[in-house]
């Protein structure tokens, strides 16, 4: 059972899976994979397979949970029983409850819930296959699914983890690094570098923590770039619809409010399967921060939001589920 590798980093500075210490695992993103959901995203990140659906904004029952001045966000992180080596008992566990809570809080600062009083925005993240870094992968996918659902957000959220193995900080832990590493620090942030999720366990000095934060930031920026690319890939044509450049934000918001409140969302009582929980998560990412794209990201993102609200048809977009 104890298959701890002797060394995590070889003499060439490469990790067990051949990555550099500051390199993230390959990520593939598919958008709009579920026809019933208002927004969805399937993500593979390393060996993680994550499916996220967003339903809403829709009416919230029971009504006593409704918030008169904003929408409620519900986030359900759930692992399939077969997603890990040893089957886990389906259903919420203490671990998945905690992850659901902190993940929801990772989105609270960005989702413009004030536009949908009394409504609920449901995010269901299903981990189909887990291989270290599921919570960050789920957040990355959820961010895209929310955009796919046309829900106004101030920023996308990107997440990855930094860990420590052999006394060295590494980005985006793989399974052995996660299992036997000395520290694990998952972080989610917005395009402005505001931290919306942070957890840590293991052992880090304050100095190491500072470096880890820096490293994570670069990873998140890279992921943000991929998220944007993926969204542009799907909504690129729509993006061609001209949006006057001088539109001011206030006006945008009003437009959104009208559109979105006007249409009542279909409510599918979808009850995702229950599953248990599992091992670990972390994620990470790689280096090269391209500083210049901060602004670009912002603009593009605003564009996306506008586009989405502009043509409502997207809301029930979706294509075949299984391409994997």
């Amino acid at each position: 059972m104890n298959d701890k590798p002797e060394k995590f980093i070889d003499e060439n500075g490469l990790r067990l899976d051949g990555r550099q210490i500051d390199e993230i695992r390959p990520m593939t993103i598919k958008i709009g994979v579920l026809s019933r959901a208002d927004g969805s995203c399937y993500m593979e990140w390393g060996n993680n397979k994550i499916l996220v659906a967003v339903y809403g904004p829709r009416e919230l029952h029971p009504r006593r949970l409704q918030k008169s001045d904003s929408a409620l966000i519900r986030y359900r992180y759930n692992m399939a029983a077969f997603s890990v080596e040893d089957r886990i008992r389906p259903g919420p566990s203490r671990r998945s409850t905690e992850i659901s809570k902190v993940s929801r809080e990772a989105f609270e600062p960005v989702v413009m819930t004030n536009l949908y009083p009394s409504a609920v925005i449901d995010v269901f993240a299903e981990v189909l296959q887990a291989d270290a870094g599921t919570r960050t992968a789920a957040i990355n996918a959820a961010s895209i699914a929310l955009a796919d659902a046309g829900i106004p957000m101030k920023s996308l959220v990107a997440a990855c983890a930094v860990g420590k193995v052999d006394g060295k900080l590494v980005l985006d832990l793989n399974k052995p690094e996660d299992n036997y590493g000395q520290a694990d620090l998952p972080i989610a942030m917005t395009q402005d570098g505001e931290i919306t999720l942070l957890q840590m366990d293991g052992n880090l000095t304050q100095e190491e923590f500072k470096q880890a934060l820096e490293m994570c930031k670069k990873g998140c920026l890279q992921i943000l770039e991929m998220q944007k690319e993926a969204l542009k890939g799907k909504f690129g044509e729509d993006a061609a619809i001209e949006v006057p450049e001088d539109i001011d934000e206030e006006i945008d918001i009003e437009v959104m409010v009208e559109c979105d409140i006007g249409e009542s969302e279909d409510e599918d009582l979808e009850e995702a399967d229950v599953s248990g929980e599992s091992g670990e998560d972390e994620d990470s990412e790689d280096t090269e921060a391209e500083e210049e794209d901060h602004e670009v990201i912002e603009e593009e993102f605003v564009d996306l939001v506008e586009e989405e609200t502009a043509d409502e048809e997207e809301i029930t977009e979706g294509s075949e589920i299984r391409e994997q």
């Binding site: 905690e98 809570k101 600062p109 620090l185 840590m200 366990d201 000095t205």
Partner: protein, 273 residues
């Protein structure tokens, strides 16, 4: 029907209160003050009593401001996890009992309680405070299982830090009940470190340590940092609906480590003497 109406009325009035409180606390903050007159980096007065429950293998009662928490540690022989056959097991649970606050309801732990239990657990576990390898009775068959049960008695804010302090204080007083179980002689639980959590909140861009109940209710973001004797960090958790900048985060970590060192000196360093 009547009951439901009452409930609605009550919840509305709470919301109004919290808006008023939010303004009040925010305005005080702008003047550099807090509701109870503390400075931003001042922890409430605290008190720790150990060995308060004879039946438990270790126990501690912690009072942090008006927040009161009782932690009991029990040990039982049981089977190890298949992936760590030679190591003891730690199980931490925390209950937000209805006795502690009008807002708490009976029933299984919900996400807040689970989160706090897990963060406390993380501190104890990841710091290596308990030498789990010494809790093995027969490898692969029998090990000591350490149950850390946290009973919240009064919630006046920052249950997290009170729990963390109570947990490690109780562990420091714990004896392994080997005689009772017919496994040799009683020995003190091998405790190697003293992890302590300190929670910092962000209100309108200002960081304050050890939030009182109103501050905790009103704040956007809480960050809990668990640090060890050598100043290293063994756990962290951001909680709440807000976000933090790098600078705020680094400042919070520094603040928390410093406060933890002080609290450790005052309350924990003499427990084992």
């Amino acid at each position: 029907m009547k009951r439901r109406l009452l409930r609605e009325v009550r919840s509305v009035s709470n919301e109004v209160m919290s808006v008023l409180k939010r303004d009040y606390i925010y305005n005080l903050m702008l003047k550099g003050k807090r509701t109870d007159g503390r400075s931003f980096d001042q922890v409430r007065d605290s008190e720790v009593k150990t060995n308060v429950i004879d039946k438990a293998e270790g126990s501690a009662w912690v009072k942090l401001g008006e927040t009161e928490v009782l932690v009991g540690v029990k040990l039982q022989a049981g089977s190890p996890f298949p992936d760590s056959k030679g190591e003891g097991v730690i199980i931490t649970s925390l209950e937000l009992n209805p006795i502690a606050s009008p807002d708490f309801e009976a029933g299984p732990p919900r996400e807040n309680a689970i989160e706090m239990a897990r963060v406390t657990d993380r501190g104890v576990r990841e710091s290596g405070a308990i030498d789990l390898s010494k809790l093995c009775i027969t490898e692969g068959e029998e090990v000591w299982i350490v149950f850390i049960d946290i009973h919240v008695l009064n919630n006046a804010g920052n249950i997290q830090d009170a729990s963390s302090m109570g947990a490690i204080a109780a562990l420091l007083t714990t004896t392994i009940p080997a005689e009772r179980a017919g496994k040799g002689e009683d020995t003190p639980l091998p405790v190697k470190d003293m992890p302590l959590s300190v929670t910092v909140i962000n209100i309108g861009g200002s960081l304050m340590v050890d939030p009182g109940l109103d501050e905790e209710t009103v704040c956007d973001t809480k960050i809990t940092v668990i640090s060890n004797q050598d100043g290293s960090i063994s756990g962290m958790q951001k909680s709440g609906d807000g976000a933090l900048t790098d600078e705020q985060l680094l400042k919070a970590v520094e603040m928390a480590c410093e406060k933890a060192a002080q609290l450790r000196e005052v309350h924990l360093s003499n427990i084992r003497d």
